[in-house]
């Protein structure tokens, strides 16, 4: 079920109705949110505060967060974060994030990565930037799945996918999938232990050091 698409905030005795961010703004907000956690954990408190202010200012342009009591700022931040959580647990977003940075990385690149993926649908920049976040993530995931399956087909048809032993018997090596496409670990079944595996005799416990042991 889709999450609520708006939230009402009261700041400085004034009410603001805020709607969920669309894709471009959402990506910007996600960058700020990530900066908040990273700065807090590394002890760079000024950067953390700046990232929270930037998050709020990106949504509430008329507000100056530095003039608002800290608890109202924090409450606003959390409410906005909750508003902008995707409605579904998209596996694409659950993939392990590699913190390795490439030479071609720069701040703000995330938007262009998404634009590159979604523009394959023939949509304009304006249209993509205004996409609902659930739709954008869902479609991006389907594009990524299509691409992976296409690569797997090409890989399966190439000689590299098969190795041969001394007898000339071939063994197929599937193309590795991204972590979010791999099968999930099975949940363990709870099984009742057979009686003969349970401890024998009377179990003893001690209530206090000076008390003699009592049977349970």
């Amino acid at each position: 079920m889709a999450k609520s698409s708006s939230v009402v905030l009261t700041l400085n005795n004034q009410e603001y109705t805020i709607v969920r961010a669309t894709l471009r703004l959402w990506l910007q907000l996600e960058d700020y949110k990530e900066k908040v956690s990273r700065s807090a954990e590394s002890g760079h408190i000024d950067n953390m505060v700046d990232a929270i202010y930037a998050y709020i200012s990106a949504v509430l342009v008329d507000i100056e967060p530095e003039e608002i009591p800290w608890y109202d700022v924090v409450e606003t931040f959390y409410k906005l974060v909750m508003l902008n959580v995707p409605s579904f647990e998209f596996p694409l977003l659950q993939s392990v994030i590699d913190n390795h940075r490439f030479n071609w990385d720069y701040e703000g690149r995330t938007w262009y990565i998404w634009l590159n993926i979604l523009s394959s649908k023939g949509w304009t920049i304006e249209y993509i930037s205004q996409l609902d976040i659930d739709d954008a993530i869902g479609i991006a995931q389907e594009i990524a799945i299509d691409k992976q399956l296409e690569l797997e087909t090409q890989w399966a048809m190439s000689e590299k996918s098969v190795s041969y032993d001394k007898k000339g018997k071939g063994k197929f090596h599937p193309l590795e999938r991204p972590s979010w496409m791999r099968p999930m670990a099975k949940e363990l079944n709870m099984a009742k232990l057979p009686d003969d595996m349970l401890p024998k005799g009377i179990l003893l416990s001690w209530r206090r050091d000076d008390e003699p042991p009592k049977p349970n």
Binding site: V36, S37, A40, E41, G43, I45, D46, M48, V49, I52, Y53, P65, E66, E67, I68, P69, W70, Y71, V73, V74
Partner: protein
Amino acid sequence: MNPLNLTDAMRLYKVLKPHLPKYKEGEEALEYFSKITKNIRTSGRHRDYVEAVSIMVGMPVKDIIQFESMEILQTFINGLTENRIISLVEFAQQVGYDG
């Protein structure tokens, strides 16, 4: 005294961090505040106490020390109340800031 903005509230948290006891669920705020005061006293780091008041009222330390000690204590307690110190501690812990 006005409540602090987030920048100054985090400065306050940083100064008080070494003296903050673990908050017990349901503990009275005043009881918690008196533990903070006691911790500062026993640590011998009285500078932290004056610096906290300085942040709370937005005045330099040299001006704070001109006040009566009871007045400073009252301001300190009011500042902890006004700035919801228990919530501030919770927030700092939630975001993973260790001071």
